[in-house]
Structure formats: structure tokens, C-alpha cells
């Protein structure tokens, strides 16, 4: 059959009555399906728009509250009243910042606004603490609040403008990629770019090995005190890598980069080992000054068989540290995952545990090999401290703890604060309602500095 005939045949068939109905029904079905899809998409878009609107209006409300609270705090006369105002400003600024992060606007456009809100919150938090200690605001702090208030007024104004346009329907969230970015850009540009205060108290708390994480975030911003020794070149530092793993185990060490920025300058190496597959390598960063290992990760499959237990791993880790020149380190807390133990070691000066000087060692429990090492805390903070005589006795400190807690053990500890400083404390371990707690009492003024809940999970001991 030629094509012409085929077409004619098709035409003939199509003109058949039956065929008509089939085609019409098929078209109707497709149209129905298309309409359903369109409506579905429109519903979803609407739902999303509603979420964005909710986040935006909430944020505007919170920013307005922050502005009002800041000005109120200037006229609060008693420290107690100021504390209440500051606490509320802290809360409202946080809520504003959370909602800001949900808007469909590129994060780099919002960066300054977000930073401003966080800093208002942080400042309010620290002033709240100061006020609760009975201390009022000083002249400098008044000035700072006045300045922040000025910024919050201009933020409020530009947000109110945006709000008017949004509710008039002149901006849609879908179009914000073009139009709104410019609007937000302008808002954000008006925000201060300088750092006021850097006390990030308010980020999410998740359970961590003791005194790690929440306290460690500002480490990179201060000059490290635990780095001693001469500056090394790439080859000298390479030697240190060999020594770290053991000359007999290492097949090759290859330099893969260097970091010359920041307070801790490093060389990076990739390490191949004898008698293991080629692609199973370790990565290690070594400080240019002193040639200390900053961190090491060796990713290898760990067998399911537990050949050594956590206690043996703890002493293996300690021996490893001693062999590499880290003396007087004691294990504090640990975590066990995938048949691997991660053990925290803190420096002990005399009878005082110094938590900021932290080294983490990862040990594979199938053969006791060190598969990870992290010493940022130690390198940043370590030094011999002049520890003062405690001004209150152990008994006095103990009397300050709630009698409901059953104290099991006690000792001295230096703990880090949110303010980049350290405090000399008594550490009490105790039980309340079947839960384990650590309570820290300032050894100089008896203030209850911190309370940690110990979470004895199947995988290890965490604090919260």
C-alpha cells in the first residue's frame, strides 16, 4: 500500500461513527487529566505562597517588636526590668531570624539582615545575663543599643514597604527571583556590615561529646596558643605525617594542598599504606607551625567483630597520645558507632581537668587502629595556666547544689564559656530521678555556671 492509500484508508476509518466517539472520548479524557494536573499545580503553588506569606508577615511582626523592645530597654531604670525587656528582645530577634531563613530569596542577599538580627539577639542575651547579675547598662552599651535601634527602624521601614506591595498584589513570591531580590538587596545593604558582638548563644543545641561543638565555634577566630615550634616546609611536615602513622606502615605520602589563610595554617597530605587497597587512603592536615596533626581521617571498612572493648580502646588512645608528645591527657567521654569508638581526651593540669584542651581520637574496634584524630581544641587553647587558689571550699560549693541531687563524685575543672573565656569550677557528678547530671560551681564566687545532662545512650555517653 502506498502512503497515499494509507492516508485515504485512515481518513475512511476516521469518518466512521465509532471512530469519532473514540477520538472524542480520548481527547476529553486527556483534557480532564490536564485540567486536573493544572489545578493540582495551582493548589500547590498557592499553598507554598501562603507559607511564604506567613513567614514574611511573622517576620515583620517580630522585627517591629524588636524595635519597640530596644527603645524600651533604653528607658528601663532597674536592671530587673531591663533584663525582662532584653530577654524578650532576644526571643523576638531569634524568631524573626528563623522566619527570614524561610523566604525564597537567595541566602547571600539576606546575609546582612540575618546577621543583624542574630547580633541583636546575641547582644540582648548577654545584656540580659548582665542585668540578671544586678548590673545595669553602661554608657557604651546605651550607645550601642541606640545604634542598633536606628538600624532596626530602617529595616522596619523597608519591610513595611515590601509588605504594602505584597498585600496589594504587586509582588508575587514566584517573581521574587527578579524583582524582590533587588528590593531585598536594598534592604540588606542598609544593614550594618560590622561585627558588634559575637556571642552566638542561640544556635541549636544537639547532644555532643562534652565541651565540644557549641563551645568550639569561635575557636578559629582567636590566635591559637597550643602551637609551638618552628615553621616547617612541606617536606619537614611530611616527615611528621610518616611518624604519626609509623614509618613501617606508610607506603607513600603525597602533598595535596595547603591553607595559608586564617590563624591555623596547614599543609594537606594524602597517605597510602602498605598492604591495603590503593584507593583506601587517609587524609591529614598538618600545621605549618610546629608540624602538629590538626585532623586526620582514615576511611576504611571496619569489621563487625569487636576484638577490643571500649576500655582497651581508651588506653590504646592514651598510649598513642603519649607517644606523640601529648602528655597528661585523660579520657572524658566517648561515643561508639559502627564498631568504632570516638574518645575525647582532655588535658589535666595537676588535679584540674581542662576541658577546652580537647583531642578526639577515633579507634577501630576490630584491630585497635587509629582511624581518626582531631586536635583543633588542643591547638587553639592549650597552655600552662596559672590556676588560682579556690576561694570557696569543696564543702561550701557542695552546699550550693540542690539537695535533691545525690552527689556521687567531685573534682576541679576548667570549662569554656560562651564569651570565649574560661572559668575555674568545681565539677560535681550526681544523680536525680535516675538521670545523671554534671553541675559546675564557680570556685571563686560560688555561681552555678552550668548544668549538663548526661545521656547514657547505648552508643556512648553524651551531654546535653
Amino acid at each position: 500500500m502506498s502512503i497515499r492509500e494509507k492516508l485515504l484508508d485512515l481518513k475512511r476509518r476516521l469518518s466512521d461513527r465509532k471512530m469519532y466517539s473514540i477520538v472524542i472520548v480520548a481527547i476529553a479524557a486527556v483534557a480532564m487529566w490536564g485540567f486536573y494536573q493544572y489545578k493540582h499545580a495551582a493548589d500547590l503553588r498557592q499553598e507554598l505562597d501562603n507559607q511564604y506569606n506567613r513567614a514574611f508577615y511573622d517576620m515583620v511582626g517580630y522585627v517591629n517588636n524588636v524595635e519597640v523592645l530596644l527603645i524600651k530597654s533604653l528607658i528601663a531604670n532597674s536592671p530587673e526590668k531591663a533584663a525582662a525587656t532584653m530577654q524578650e528582645a532576644w526571643r523576638q530577634a531569634n524568631l524573626a531570624q528563623t522566619n527570614l531563613g524561610q523566604l525564597p530569596v537567595s541566602p547571600n542577599v539576606l546575609a546582612n539582615t540575618s546577621k543583624f538580627l542574630t547580633q541583636v539577639g546575641d547582644l540582648a542575651y548577654s545584656l540580659n545575663n548582665q542585668n540578671m547579675g544586678g548590673q545595669g547598662l553602661n554608657e557604651e552599651q546605651y550607645k550601642l543599643i541606640e545604634q542598633l535601634h536606628g538600624f532596626s527602624v530602617s529595616l522596619e521601614q523597608s519591610l513595611n514597604d515590601l509588605q504594602t506591595q505584597l498585600s496589594a498584589g504587586r509582588i508575587k513570591w514566584g517573581e521574587l527571583a527578579k524583582k524582590g531580590t533587588r528590593l531585598f538587596q536594598k534592604t540588606s545593604e542598609n544593614m550594618p556590615n560590622t561585627q558588634f558582638e559575637n556571642i552566638d548563644k542561640t544556635f541549636q543545641e544537639y547532644p555532643t561529646l562534652i565541651y565540644d561543638g557549641p563551645f568550639s565555634d569561635h575557636m578559629t577566630q582567636t590566635e591559637p596558643t597550643g602551637l609551638a615550634g618552628e615553621d616547617m616546609d612541606v617536606e619537614q611536615a611530611k616527615q611528621r605525617v610518616m611518624e604519626f602513622f609509623g614509618q613501617d606502615k606508610v607506603m607513600a605520602v603525597e602533598e595535596i594542598g595547603r591553607v595559608d589563610e586564617g590563624h591555623i595554617k596547614t599543609y594537606s597530605y594524602s597517605v597510602k599504606f602498605n598492604n591495603v587497597p590503593e584507593d583506601q587512603t587517609a587524609t591529614v592536615d598538618v600545621t605549618q607551625k610546629g608540624g602538629n596533626v590538626l585532623w586526620m581521617l582514615y576511611n576504611r571498612p571496619v569489621g563487625a567483630q569487636e576484638q577490643i572493648n571500649v576500655d582497651q580502646a581508651k588506653s590504646l588512645g592514651k598510649r598513642f597520645l603519649e607517644e606523640h608528645g601529648y602528655r597528661d591527657m585523660v579520657d572524658t567521654y566517648y561515643l561508639k558507632e559502627d564498631n568504632t569508638a570516638i574518645i575525647n581526651y582532655a588535658y589535666k593540669q595537676g588535679d584540674v581537668i581542662v576541658y577546652p584542651d580537647l583531642i578526639k581520637v577515633k579507634i577501630a574496634l576490630d584491630n585497635g587502629e587509629i582511624t581518626g584524630f582531631e586536635s583543633k581544641g588542643y591547638i587553639t587553647n592549650h597552655r600552662e595556666r596559672s590556676i588560682p587558689q579556690p576561694k570557696i571550699t569543696m564543702e561550701q560549693a557542695r552546699a550550693l547544689i540542690t539537695p535533691r541531687m545525690n552527689v556521687l563524685s567531685s573534682g576541679f575543672a576548667i570549662i569554656p564559656t560562651d564569651y570565649k573565656t574560661e572559668i575555674f569550677t568545681y565539677e560535681f557528678k550526681g544523680k536525680l530521678n535516675d538521670r545523671d547530671f554534671l553541675v559546675y560551681i564557680n570556685a571563686e564566687n560560688g555561681k552555678e555556671e552550668n548544668i549538663l545532662l548526661i545521656m547514657d545512650t547505648p552508643n556512648g555517653i553524651l551531654t546535653m
Partner: protein, 231 residues
């Protein structure tokens, strides 16, 4: 007319079922194994804790499947109309909402840490599953560094789901199931435990595919695998 009807029915069924197929279903892995007297494990501990919470058990949370535990399990089975055997089989464990935990992919939400761990692992999986191990840890570390920086949201979920922040979130790559042999879960744990190969970086980008001009204004600190890391 019969064929016409058939076709109509087919078309209608087809058009109705498409949206159904498009819905991805959530798969929950079945529970494996059972707990029996004389066993001693962390799972027994978890079971004892639940039984104690619900007043079936008043002994120590020892991890040992002893007589007290045995009778507690019987009591529990009795209440829930399960075959009373004193052995915590799959049905019993399921009734307690317990699975043999520990394995990835099974339902477990013991603490905030493990939910962060799962979310972080999914994000790393979407963004960097083809990268070398330290590159995966580095991506996790960048996300955690952001939670500590005032310019970004303060929670892991806030940072990951911030609109426009990560391509893997925008295009749904974050929901790609994690390969059981993948190292992303391990990488997420290392990042949560404080390993940071980037030395505090807040951004990373792939120089081959980065579309934003702005990102090139960042200072490059390090290159790991295909990604540049910067502040």
C-alpha cells in the same frame, strides 16, 4: 461499541492512576530478629526502658533478658492480645514500636542527634555522593558551620532547607535513597563529631557547574574533589 467502552474505561483508569504513580511511597524496612531470655544487648535495654515507662517492668535497665523481663514481656503480650510466650518476637517488638535499631534505613529516632544525622546524611548524599570521603565530610561540615554563623539559620534543618541554598534540595536530589554501601552516613557522623576538613568554610561550589557569579567573589580556602570551599 464494546471496544469503545473498553477504551474509555482504560483511558479513565489511566488518567486517574497517573497521579497515584507519581506519589512516591515511603518504605519502612521490616523488623528483623527477636529478643529472647538470656540475651544481653543494647536492644534488650531499649525494650526494658519502654516496658518500664509503661509500668510493665520495675527492675533495672540492665540489658539482660532475665526473669523479670520475661514476665514483663508476657504481661505486655497479654494486654495487647499477642500470643503469650515471654519471647519478644517481631510482632511484639513492633507493638512496642521497637525495631532492631542501629541499622541505617530502619526507623529510628533515638535522639536529636540521630535525626540530624539522617538529615545531614541525606543532604551529603544529594550534594556529594560521588565525592571522596573527606569531600563528603567537608560538605557536612559546611552545613554545620552555617548553623553557627549569624548570617544563616541556626538549625541543621533550617540551613539545609533554606530556599535556594543547595541545588540538591531544590531539585529533590536530597530524597534519593542512600546506597547501603555509601559512606555518607559515616561522613555525616564525622562532621557532627567535629571533624572539619574545611577549616570553618561557609560555602562550596563546583567550578564546572556553578552558575552564580557572586560565588566567585568568595575567597577560596581549599579544593577537595570537585568542589571549591570558601569563606
Amino acid at each position: 461499541m464494546k471496544t469503545v467502552k473498553r477504551i474509555i474505561i482504560l483511558v479513565v483508569i489511566f488518567s486517574i492512576s497517573i497521579p497515584l504513580f507519581l506519589n512516591s511511597s515511603v518504605f519502612i524496612a521490616p523488623i528483623t530478629g527477636k529478643l529472647a531470655p538470656d540475651m544481653e544487648s543494647d536492644d534488650v535495654k531499649k525494650m526494658q526502658q519502654r516496658l518500664k515507662n509503661w509500668n510493665y517492668y520495675d527492675g533495672e535497665i540492665s540489658g539482660k533478658y532475665d526473669f523479670k523481663t520475661y514476665f514483663a514481656v508476657r504481661d505486655f503480650q497479654n494486654t495487647y492480645k499477642l500470643p503469650v510466650s515471654g519471647i519478644a518476637n517481631e510482632d511484639t517488638l513492633a507493638a512496642m514500636g521497637l525495631t532492631t535499631l542501629a541499622k541505617w534505613g530502619e526507623v529510628y529516632a533515638q535522639s536529636n542527634q540521630s535525626s540530624n544525622e539522617q538529615l545531614l546524611a541525606s543532604a551529603i548524599n544529594g550534594e556529594a555522593r560521588g565525592e571522596p570521603y573527606e569531600g563528603q565530610v567537608a560538605v557536612g561540615a559546611v552545613i554545620l558551620n552555617r548553623t553557627r554563623d549569624p548570617k544563616f539559620p541556626k538549625t541543621v534543618a533550617g540551613v539545609i532547607y533554606q530556599p535556594g541554598a543547595f541545588t540538591a534540595v531544590s531539585d529533590g536530589q536530597i530524597n534519593v535513597p542512600i546506597d547501603p554501601n555509601s559512606t555518607v552516613v559515616k561522613a555525616a557522623r564525622d562532621a557532627l563529631n567535629g571533624w572539619d576538613p574545611t577549616n570553618g568554610c561557609l560555602y562550596y561550589w563546583n567550578p564546572a557547574t556553578a552558575t552564580s557569579k557572586w560565588i566567585w567573589s568568595r575567597q577560596i580556602v581549599k579544593k577537595i574533589g570537585k568542589h571549591y570551599f570558601g569563606k
